[in-house]
Amino acid sequence: MAARFATRARQPALPPLLTSILVSRAFLYGMMFTVGIIWGAPLLWMVITSLKPPEEIFAYPVNWLPHAPTLSYYVGVFQRFPMLLWFRNSMIVATITTSLTLVVDTLAAYPLARLQFRGRRVILLVILSTFLLPREILLVPLFLGLSRLGISDSYFSLSVPAAANAFGVFLLTQFFGTLPAELEDAATIDGCTRLGFLWRIVVPLSRPALASVAIFTFVGSWNEFFWPLIVTNTDKTRTVPVGLSALVASAGMSTSFGITMAAAGVATLPAVIFFLILQRYFVRGIATTGLK
């Protein structure tokens, strides 16, 4: 906002004003630089530590450039821990959660956004109110129910309950509502059924919104910590976050920073690549859900 003023107020031959603009610009760039360091340094430090030989990790003073970089910790992570298995589990769980969420949320958002029927407002309100519900209330009943069925430690319990989420329905309801009503009339006259209309018209037009839902659900599932910690008992089902916390416990955090940093780096890399490719969908997804 200040910048808008600054640019508009910039007129020739007004030295005091120009000075004040330059000072405020310098201040803003200084702030941005500081912010960049605070958010960039920790991740960079993780990568650098993971590349250092043991004697350099604990060197004083701190050095940001390893003298003899090594990948030995990365080898160690894969040799000593079932990292690939955790990745596989995370991938399966996140894929099931995301696919299921996309299908049921699309189907549900369509009538909520575009059809008039009894109970619409109540259903929408109940779904939205769960934004405010701390999920801790569900842990005990869900765990007991699933273990009674003998499936608490399974891909099913890691993925399917997570699809009962209000986020996607909310976002898609918002988005579907913005499509013009004439589309539906035209499709109906052409003999299109509602399901056909949803599949052939609404879904293709809503690709950005669907992408946001997919990405958020995927990342949310990928990073989920509490529920997998409760239900997984062995590496057969353990996801990356829970595996990492087991790795820290077994490697000993304070003695082996090298290997824990390498493990953290391995766990971070796919997420970061994924994010850099799909960044705009993240931003749009958060912005849409937070507003309107």
Binding site: R4, P42, L43, M46, L139, G145, P161, F226, A287
Partner: protein, 306 residues
């Protein structure tokens, strides 16, 4: 899920197509909703209701639960550990939610400026969003390490001695978790505020400028009021998320030192899944629910949204 338009002549009840038409049209919204509502009911609504009921029973991992009234509440409210977790969590909410909201807004204001490199900064701030709490915990335990940590290394020339054990000092541990949390999750608030800022009509700023308002007045009397709908979302959800804190404490401090970072969610975890006192854990979860509800209502009232 066919409509009357699909081959009415072939239908055996083609004599009453009008009836078919309306009944199917009336039914189909619910058919579309059915799969979601099934999941929603089975994995959310029903467990939530059972969760409340469970808090009034002596449920353990096996056997039949019996109704025992309010005795779980009595037990945990008299449990020093639970009381400590309540106090700790309240403290965490107080020192984390406010920075999450203020820093979120300030960062949004900053990256909304027309500055070179702002996209890089946005990306950097946003990166932790895709990182799990295990990774964040691992990184910050290393940075906050008393002897070899990056933070103490850069603080030592400033004369902060003896070095602070950020995660082992009883007074420093919770603030350290708060800082980690802000670093990890402020990005979501930043993005929401950024979208909110960009939705404010340019004319309002122009009008204010013509009226001779200074920067602070513009911020105070245009930006802040126009952000009310955003605040009505950001503030309650941030506070709720803080009440639910778990991973940070679990990964970084295990609730220590001396239980100073032992939070409600960890009490629930320990009571339910290590001591198998499901009823008591459910009661703790209900208390958590009531606290978040109370805080949300108070905030929305204060903002005159409710």
């Amino acid at each position: 899920m066919t409509t009357a338009f699909s081959e009415p002549a072939l239908s055996r009840r083609a004599t009453t197509p009008r009836f078919d038409f309306t009944s199917q049209r009336r039914l189909s919204p619910y058919l579309f909703l059915a799969p979601y509502l099934l999941l929603f009911g089975v994995f959310l609504m029903i467990p939530a209701v059972i969760g409340v009921f469970a808090s009034f029973t002596d449920w353990s991992i096996s056997g039949t639960p019996h109704f025992i009234g309010l005795s779980n509440y009595q037990t945990i409210l008299n449990d020093p550990l639970f009381r400590q977790s309540l106090g700790n969590t309240l403290y965490f909410v107080a020192i984390t939610a406010v920075p999450l909201i203020m820093v979120g807004l300030l960062l949004a204001l900053l990256v909304n400026q027309n500055l070179r490199g702002r996209n890089l900064i946005r990306t950097l701030i946003f990166l932790p969003y895709v990182v799990s709490i295990s990774v964040v915990g691992i990184i910050w335990v290393w940075i906050l390490d008393r002897t070899f940590g990056l933070l103490n290394f850069y603080l030592s020339p400033l004369g902060i001695r003896p070095a602070i054990g950020w995660l082992t000092d009883v007074n420093a541990a919770m603030p350290a978790l708060a800082v980690t949390t802000v670093w990890w999750t402020v990005n979501a608030n930043m993005i929401i505020y950024l979208a909110g800022l960009q939705d404010i009509p340019e004319e309002l700023y122009e009008a204010a400028r013509i009226d001779g308002a200074n920067r602070w007045q513009v911020f105070r009397f245009i930006t802040i009021p126009m952000l009310l709908p955003v605040n009505a979302f950001v503030i309650p959800t941030t506070v709720i998320a803080c009440w639910r804190v778990f991973g940070q404490a679990f990964v970084m401090t295990k609730g220590g030192p001396q239980g100073r970072t032992f939070v409600i969610a960890q009490y629930i975890y320990q009571t339910a899944f290590q001591n198998f006192r499901m009823g008591q854990a459910a009661a703790a979860a209900v208390i958590l629910l009531l606290l978040t509800l109370l805080f949300t209502v108070v905030q929305l009232r204060a903002m005159k949204v409710l």
